[in-house]
């Protein structure tokens, strides 16, 4: 690597006086900072919304508990109707299960705007609450978010390409190359020094902005897990940036005019960022199309009808709205048993469809997981989402936790409904609450290992390839 040091320093001096270089660097800085601020604002909003969710539910629960306690202290007449496990579990109470933002959530919005970040769990079949609606303008969801991950995955390559597409070709076109090499600098050392001079500042900038975002937005800076995530974040960002530097170096090694280099690199960006993801998506959805929600809707309806020719579901809704028509308490118990029966009949009937849903989704995810290796951009996006806890894996982990909580919650009330037991005031304290089990650094590592190795592979491949090409690069 003869001459690396002198070329590296020389480049710095040149770059210092290059206004395009500073403009690009400044733009990258401004965009990243804006994206970080925007991500932080979104994450704050979500955390704030999530924090208040169960307040109302808990108030209701305590008020009901007090009603029952008052009656227990002075038991005159019938017990209050809210002491019925059926009324509580099947009509009055529900529990919000909330997915809290993970550390570094503000760096990648990921699937947060599409996937539910909370479910309102009831004792009815899971399907009744899994479809929690979100209120948002679909046009905004379609456009996506301006977050740091977007700047990294989509824009950073453009900046890198703009800085490096003519790294070697320009020197050659200006006739500088032969002069420099005449001083005994090796070709490889020359190109690497030029690339490194640019890469150095870009990496430094990303590190600083990333650190600033962490320090300004994260509540617990002493957490080791946070810094482990940040380390991973910087590793992924560096590898991805490295990949684009290596691509530019490789294209320069092809010994084409600068303009052709630019065209090739623009096409490369297009292929990795736009074309391959779109094709991978279409391949996965064509091979394993999502089973139809529409069919699920009609099946469920059919099942409800079959489960109860008299249409228990509509009667249930009818009675909830018009409790005066239910009749006495004995009738109410009977009624809730009937609701349970209908619920479980519907559940049994749609079970095969639900399983098909799950199986197809799993297969589709497998295909996508495999095909992500076709594009460093997909790998980088997936890894960044995983690190920020906004990727597919964490959402499926969350919904699994919710489903298992739902079993608990439901069991609590169903047991009592079937035994015809009333709730004592003390038993209100035993009503299950949802504790979210953190999707920790080990899970992040597991989810990012593939993409990181994939990126590493691309980087190594390009580096080896280019170094071979530069060894045979014609100077004139």
């Amino acid at each position: 690597m003869k001459g690396f040091g002198s070329v590296f320093i020389q480049e710095w001096v040149i770059l210092k006086h290059n206004s395009t270089w500073w403009a690009i660097l400044g733009l990258l800085l401004v965009l990243t900072v804006l994206a970080a601020l925007n991500g932080a604002a979104r994450t704050d909003q979500m955390a704030e919304m999530a924090s208040g969710l169960n307040r109302g539910e808990m108030q209701t629960q305590t008020a009901l508990q007090n009603t029952v306690a008052r009656w227990e202290a002075n038991p005159e007449g019938d017990p209050p109707s809210v002491a019925s496990a059926g009324a509580l579990g099947l009509s009055v109470l529900s529990h919000y299960t909330v997915l809290p933002p993970s550390p570094l959530a503000s760096l990648s919005i990921g699937q947060t705007d599409v996937q539910p970040i909370y479910y309102k769990v009831t004792a009815h079949p899971a399907l009744s609450f899994l479809n929690e609606a979100k209120i948002q303008n679909p046009l905004n969801v379609l456009a996506g978010s301006f977050d740091v991950a977007f700047v990294i995955v989509f824009l950073l390559p453009i900046f890198i390409v703009a800085l490096t597409f003519d790294l070697m070709s320009k020197e050659k076109e200006r006739g500088v190359l032969s002069l420099v090499l005449a001083h005994g600098v090796s070709k490889t050392a020359f190109i690497i020094a030029k690339g490194a001079a640019r890469a150095f500042l870009i990496f430094f900038l990303l590190l600083i902005v990333g650190l600033a975002a962490v320090v300004l937005t994260e509540p617990d800076l002493a957490s080791g897990a946070l810094w482990a995530r940040f380390g991973l974040w910087f590793l992924v960002v560096s590898l991805y940036a490295f990949f684009w530097f290596a691509s530019a170096l490789f294209v320069n090694a092809l010994n084409k005019p600068s303009v052709t280099n630019g065209v090739i690199l623009a096409n490369l960006w297009l292929v990795f960022v736009v074309v391959v993801p779109a094709l991978v998506n279409v391949i996965a959805t064509t091979l394993f199309p999502a089973p139809s929600r529409v069919e699920l809707t009609t099946e469920m309806r059919e099942a409800t009808e079959v489960a109860d020719q008299e249409s228990a579901e509509s009667r249930e809704a009818f009675f909830f709205d018009h409790p005066e028509m239910v009749g006495g308490n004995a009738n109410a118990d009977q009624f809730f048993l009937q609701v349970l029966a209908t619920d479980s009949a519907v559940e049994r009937a749609i079970e095969p469809l639900m399983q098909e849903f799950g199986a197809q989704a799993e297969k589709r995810q497998e295909v996508v997981d495999l095909l992500q290796y076709a594009s460093p951009s997909i790998m980088a996006q997936n890894a960044l989402n995983a690190i920020s806890g906004t990727g597919t894996e964490r959402f499926s982990d969350f919904s699994e936790q919710v489903l298992s909580f739902h079993e608990n919650w439901r069991g609590f009330f169903t047991n009592r409904i079937i035994k015809g037991k009333r709730m004592s005031a003390a038993e209100f304290d035993e009503i299950p609450t949802f504790e979210y089990k953190t999707w920790g650094v080990a899970s992040v590592l597991a989810a990012t290992a593939g993409p990181i190795l994939g990126l590493l592979f691309f980087v190594l491949l390009l580096s080896i390839w280019s170094s071979r090409k530069y060894a045979r690069y014609p100077v004139v």
Partner: protein, 471 residues
């Protein structure tokens, strides 16, 4: 003279390999997109139509039932698709596809396809519209960036201008040549797409839409063509022209839409689903004007008793319960109108912001127009939910009317039969006419024409001042 220049430019572009790869990519993606679009339309339209039929049949076959129970059972409205919905899927992946129409409640559309999709779908779905919006400008840029700067670098610009070609003639000649080259690649594919549309059942209705869509994308290509030519005439080197135009393309196509979406969220925040529901529940309980529904029912009862000169509801010739249901329904509808009205007003402010940002981004203007014409815009989704809601209200009113007229007070065991269910007209979505869409698209068209005019003007100005050498 223009034609001579055009012919030369055309031949040169075809000979030059620089756009070969981009053209191949564009062609592959377009063909894949149009090919899958046909299949998806066939599958999904059949699925929704049959689901609608099943639901209608289920409603008709309810057997004997109290009409209010039938109102609770309700119906589903499925959002129909048009052949063009798969040319441009627009917001379709992020909106629900069916609405449960039941008593007392205005439900949201459910079953957004995006929930079932993998994260990779967020890079963009492969549709012909996505391909054209993303790749067409890039192809145009790659075609045209060396037009002047390259000639200047090669030293041929001096010769060209010393002949009897005026700079403006040169500009339009080069533009025509590039456009001809572009049409050679894309024309046949679009033609195939059109034939596909004509062969699709019901496709004939959308030929007009299709023609306007093609016009929109042609304008889009011309905008980028003249912009690139203007930049090419203005800057030092072909290389610089390429960097400037790719930069503009990236910022206007990728950054601005996202910026618009985030700024609109910040400026016009939507309530959370929980708060939205809580507001509705609260208004349902205590009444919009602070007079509770129970009080209003009481007042209505006194009115009706006075009108019929009766002492109690039992003496009335009608079932007052039906009137209570009807009154409750109307009060509920007022609440829904208020809160959904407010929500949609926020949506429309947000969409207005996208419209505003589109002044800086031809892609956004084209995208808004393209999805409107393809029937996959927010407007059309809200038209669907709106029509479904109107249908729901009529359905529930009919059920309550039946109770009022055909049963007696306190007759809880009243049952209506299939004649009532059969009297309900099935739900059928009426899409807006092409004329309505075109008027709605006024702002987008204006932005597009403004861009076109500006880019041509920029081109003309740039070539008038063009220097044969720089530096």
């Amino acid at each position: 003279m223009i034609l001579t220049v055009a012919r030369k430019e055309f031949r040169e572009i075809l000979r030059d390999g620089r756009i070969k790869w981009s053209a191949v990519i564009l062609a592959v993606m377009l063909i894949a997109a149009l090919g899958t679009a046909g299949q998806r339309y066939a599958d999904i339209s059949a699925e929704r139509a049959s689901a609608q039929e099943v639901v209608n049949m289920q409603f008709a076959a309810q057997g004997e039932k109290n009409p209010h129970a039938a109102a609770h059972y309700g119906l589903y409205a499925f959002k129909p698709v048009t052949p063009l919905s798969f040319f441009d899927t627009g917001i379709a992946s992020y909106t629900g596809v069916s609405i449960w129409l039941e008593a007392h409640k205005q439900n949201d559309a459910e079953g957004e396809p995006a929930r079932d999709a993998t994260a990779i779908a967020r890079f963009g779905e492969l549709t012909a519209a996505f391909t054209l919006q993303m790749l067409l400008p890039l192809l145009v840029i790659l075609l045209a960036f060396p037009a002047f700067a390259g000639e200047r670098e090669a030293g041929t610009l001096r010769q060209l201008l010393s002949m009897q070609v005026s700079p403006v003639q040169l500009l339009f000649g080069k533009a025509l040549g590039a456009a001809a080259a572009l049409s050679t690649f894309i024309g046949p594919i679009l033609l195939l797409g059109f034939i596909g549309l004509l062969m699709t059942p019901g496709g004939l209705t959308y030929v007009g839409h299709g023609i306007v869509i093609v016009a929109v994308y042609i304008i889009y290509a011309w905008i980028f063509l003249f912009l690139t030519l203007a930049v090419s005439a203005n800057v030092r080197s072909a290389q610089a022209a390429l960097v400037v135009m790719v930069g503009f393309w990236a910022v206007s196509s990728f950054v601005l839409p996202r910026a618009a979406s985030d700024v609109s969220r910040l400026l016009y925040p939507t309530p959370t689903a929980v708060l939205f529901q809580a507001n509705i529940d609260e208004a349902m309980q205590s009444g919009l004007d602070g007079v509770s529904p129970d009080t209003k029912v009481q007042q209505r009862q006194e009115q009706i008793l006075k009108l019929y000169k009766a002492d109690s509801v039992e003496d009335l010739p009608i079932n007052f319960q039906g009137m209570i249901f009807d009154l409750q329904e109307k009060l509920g509808n007022e609440v829904f109108d208020k809160y959904y009205g407010e929500l949609y007003a926020i949506f429309s402010q947000q969409t207005g912001l996208h419209q505003m940002f589109s002044v800086g981004s031809p892609r956004m203007a084209v995208q808004l127009a393209s999805m409107e014409l393809s029937g996959t815009s927010l407007n059309q989704h809200l038209a669907f939910t709106g029509q479904a809601e109107t249908y729901r209200r009529k359905l529930i009113a009919d059920m309550n009317q039946d109770i009022t007229n055909n049963s007696n007070a306190g007759q809880a065991d009243y049952r209506a039969d299939s004649t009532l269910w059969a009297s309900i007209e099935p739900f059928a979505f009426q899409p807006a006419s092409l004329g309505t869409l075109l008027t709605r698209l006024g702002p987008s068209f204006m932005v597009m024409f403004l861009w076109l005019a500006l880019s041509i003007a920029a081109g003309v100005l740039a070539v008038r001042k063009v220097k044969v050498t720089l530096g």
